[in-house]
């Protein structure tokens, strides 16, 4: 029998981790990426990677608490077994990356240094300066190069994934991809396919993501029948540097190392920030969230910054909304050692040295918590069953989704420094599952009918040729359509969402989609034609955009990154103890009722005939840790928490009694 062969699409952290693990398991891997893998978007991750560690353990931390912080931070929309497995793997993942040579920052004694990140009270985050993603990616890139030199991996860089190849039973038997230089379209037969193609930030025009994070690869799977889940959960990062081509990330580690967010108390104070005394500065995160301070979870920090600029009118700059992120109180040597990389970015692009002058930052679209729906098998201890073929398999048999383009792990809001972890973890963990799946199948990549492969290529060739032929009566330009789409999405589906705006955006996006299908290209050549590749990716942004908007419109609640003020749960207003207690009871009733209706994953299936996603809802596995209200900063949080705890205890007691009775 010929060796097992897997196609991995995408060469970021998840794709590379998957490739090297599969190669270690003696699988032949074809790695397809539209950029040299060393240039993948993972390089942009700055802050670090989380795990509980020897130091935090002695302060009471453990893997379970990392799991709990993750699901609490994610507003309980995360399926819990995968999250639990990830949290328990986290220390092992960091050990491996350490062995692979990642230059993590060290303590004076030579141990890995750690810093604090948002949504936790422990210093769990290991880091390599402020370029942790780059450093982790390079370590994996090096290992994949090593496997390539050994002949176990073939890389296809500057190849665009066009879609999965499915047989008559719907099983995935390979992929079709296009050489972005010669424009050749070719079939890659395989026993299984792993999609690790990251997020979809470009649907919003400008974001913190790299130019190739268009979501088109996930969309091509979606259009082929894969389910897309929780699309409406898009993380807007609180701190980015606004720019005309890109919104550049300013890492959460800036706050993890002591950075403070503030605005002048007086609107549009014209004094230089250094001349504004402490009494005239409004450290609004610290004042409003005394426990977490500047390190509240991202969704909350984002909303507060947005609110202070939009509703309170306290933006630092009257022309362009922004607040100060201030590091100037920290010694320069320490800043250079721990944050050098990101401070250089600010200095290079803004021409101001953030060591001496506070940075001006504003929120930006940053991460897709949602993505391709994928399965898993729960183990007896509540984690994942190692080696089960279904782990991370989409509803298309033999097609796996890992990394940012899957929908597990981060629920309604991702905690900082958990994404690098989820990418590497899923890449490593799924290796044995894929091998076991392939072993269970009869008929491998060598037995695929040439007619099936040729048919799949012909279909893509037809689309390609059709675009080159163009639409003589149309002057639609893919670049301008992309800008329009980005504007609509940014206005309707980022920090604050309103149903009238969403309904309006859906109508506009539908119309724009029709126009996008009629683009006329300025380059109709057949050599390195970026115009046609971009046009295809723009067209493929629409199914994702529609799922984001549809999911957001249907979800009449606030959960994590999805914030609809019309459905916000109010703070407590009663002052008298009894009345306040009663109000808290009502609050908890409303919370439970809301969870019954909305604590569900949004599942989209794409209907190619109507060009619309069909939405349905899936129960979330919260069997390990019952959902509880997320109360950061709410007035009356203490009493709500008390009521909630009594209810949870009563439930647990009833369950226990029931168990002992049977």
């Amino acid at each position: 029998m010929s060796k097992q062969r897997v196609v991995v699409v995408g060469g970021g952290l998840a794709g590379l981790a998957s490739t090297m693990k599969l190669a270690e398991l003696d699988v032949e891997v074809d790695l397809i990426s539209l950029t040299p893998v060393k240039r993948s978007h993972s390089v942009c991750a700055q802050g670090g990677i989380n795990s509980c560690n020897d130091q935090t353990r002695q302060l009471g931390d453990n893997e379970w608490k990392h799991f709990d912080d993750t699901v609490y931070g994610g507003d309980f929309l995360n399926h819990q077994p995968p999250v639990k497995e990830m949290a328990y793997w986290a220390p092992k993942v960091i050990d491996l990356m350490d062995r692979l040579g990642v230059p993590f920052n060290r303590t004076g004694e030579g141990f890995l240094d750690r810093r604090r990140f948002g949504g936790t009270l422990y210093k769990r985050t290991a880091f390599a300066g402020a370029t942790t993603g780059q450093q982790l990616l390079y370590a994996l890139d090096e290992q994949v190069r090593r496997k390539e030199a050994e002949g176990k991996v073939r890389k296809f860089e500057f190849w665009d994934f066009l879609g999965p190849i499915q047989d008559e039973n719907g099983r995935c038997r390979g992929v079709v991809a296009q050489d972005m230089v010669s424009m050749e379209i070719r079939a890659f037969p395989a026993d299984a396919v792993v999609v690790a193609t990251g997020g979809c930030g470009l649907v919003y025009g400008r974001s913190t993501m790299s130019v190739f994070c268009t979501g088109s690869a996930a969309s091509r799977c979606f259009q082929a029948g894969a389910k897309y889940a929780n699309g409406e959960f898009i993380q807007v990062h609180p701190t980015a540097i606004p720019g005309s081509d890109k919104l550049r990330l300013m890492s959460e580690s800036a706050r993890g190392e002591g950075g403070r967010v503030w605005v002048p108390r007086k609107p549009h104070d014209t004094r230089s920030p250094r001349d504004i005394p402490a009494s005239d500065r409004y450290y609004f995160l610290e004042e409003r969230y005394p426990e977490y301070g500047n390190l509240v979870p991202r969704d909350i920090a984002t909303r507060e910054i947005f609110d202070i600029c939009v509703n309170d009118g306290l933006s630092v700059d009257p022309e362009r909304m922004c607040v100060y992120l201030d590091l100037t109180h920290i010694p320069k040597a320490e800043l250079d050692r721990k944050l050098g990389g990101i401070l250089e970015i600010y200095e290079k692009f803004q021409g101001v040295d953030p060591r001496f002058e506070p940075m001006r930052i504003f929120p930006a679209v940053h991460y897709s918590m949602g993505g391709l729906w994928a399965d898993y098998v729960k183990s007896a201890d509540g984690g994942l069953e190692a080696g089960a073929p279904k782990n991370h398999m989409t509803n298309i048999q033999g097609l796996y989704a890992i990394g940012e383009c899957d929908y597990h792990y981060h629920g309604a809001n991702r905690l900082g420094a958990n994404s690098l972890l989820s990418c590497i973890f899923t890449g490593l963990f799924t290796g044995p599952s894929i091998v076991n799946y392939i072993e269970s199948q009869s008929g491998g990549h060598a037995d695929i009918e040439p007619a099936m492969l040729n048919g799949a290529v012909a279909k893509q060739q037809e689309r390609h040729d059709g675009l080159l032929k163009g639409n003589p009566n149309s002057d639609e330009n893919p670049y301008l359509i992309h800008q329009e789409l980005g504007d609509i999405m940014t206005r309707a589906a980022t920090v604050v969402r309103r149903n009238d705006q969403l309904t309006d955006a859906i109508a506009k996006v539908n119309e724009l989609h029709e126009r996008a299908m009629k683009v006329n290209l300025s380059d109709t050549g057949s050599w390195s034609n970026q115009n046609v590749i971009f046009a295809k990716s723009v067209q493929d942004m629409f199914p994702i955009a529609k799922s984001i908007l549809g999911g957001a419109l249907n979800r009449d609640e606030c959960r994590g990154a999805h914030f609809k003020p019309a459905f916000q749960k109010p703070s407590l207003t009663e002052e008298a103890p009894a009345a306040r207690r009663k109000q808290a009871e009502q609050w908890c009733d409303a919370f439970e009722k809301n969870n019954e209706k909305y604590l569900k994953s949004t599942i989209a299936e794409y209907d190619n005939a109507t060009m619309q996603p069909k939405l349905s809802y899936e129960e979330v596995d919260t069997s390990l840790q019952p959902p509880r209200p997320r109360l950061y900063g709410l007035v009356g949080a203490d009493i709500i928490e008390e009521v909630w705890k009594e209810r949870a205890d009563a439930k647990a007691k009833a369950k226990k009694e029931q168990l002992s009775a049977t």
Binding site: K21, E24, T35, P36, K38, R39, H41, V43, C44, K92, D95, L96, R99, L100, G101, P103, F104, N105, R106, T107, E109, G110, F111, L112, A128, T131, Q134, Q135, Y138, A139, E142, Q143, R145, R146, E148, E157, V181, S210, V211, G243, S244, D245, K246, R248, L249, G341, I345, F349, Q350, L428, Y479, L480, Q483, S522, D523, G525, W527, S528, Q530, N531
Partner: protein
Amino acid sequence: MIALDPATNRPKFINVRVKRQDGPGQEPYWQLFKIDYEPELNVITILQRIAALSKTSDGKAVTPVVWDCGCLEEVCGSCTMQINGRVRQSCSALVDQLLKDNPDEIVLEPMSKFPVLRDLMVDRKRLFKALEKVKAWVPVDSYYDMGPGERQLRAAQEQNYPLSQCMSCGCCVDSCPQYTKIELQRRSGESDEAFAKREAEAFDKAFIGPHAISQAMLFNNHPTGKAIAGERMEALTGPGGIQACGNAQNCVSVCPKEIPLTTSIARAGRAATVYTIKKWFEK
């Protein structure tokens, strides 16, 4: 801030001259584009505007300029090109600063040491081949959980981290007089594999480049990476190795990450001497 002073010297237009080439081995030609001035643009935005416009300054419809880009924050290395004659990333090339130096025009050309695929897009696989040649990796036994790596002092981390920031952009080799362009034409009937093999042989004989020497030093300074230090020195002392360096020191002055490349080269030079003498004694 870096934007030009609004009162005095903000131009209405930006003239952008681009050296274009339709494919490998074809004749390059120049085109001039005119873009409306806006404050705080970079060369990426300029190229995006050109793509959306697809018209030269005299109104002639042309194809969009082809170029490579990725992160747009100078950590991926994709968008390297020659801007006003200097090799650098186009994302961090800020238009206001470029106009201060040369108000008349911005000149964009492809990198000079790599075969042009089209316009500003070049084929840089030779950079990555060099990393393979020096085995720039830690030869771990497996990817199973075997506990943490060796403890390392902060000083070692602080020596290695800057070298590890190399993003394989190619600025160092583009400015290196000893690094010459290798551009092979495919022979008629030559298979992909045969062509790749012929190309790899040509790369192998030519100068490996400062980036790869620096990576060899990085891994030779790692507790486990050291295990194959001899194999790396073998590559560095062979054809195209360290002896090809002419000490022009251009590499270190153009490196966008300010990696101490000449320090790495000096270390490699000393290590090569020791390695060669030792090898001679062990004969």
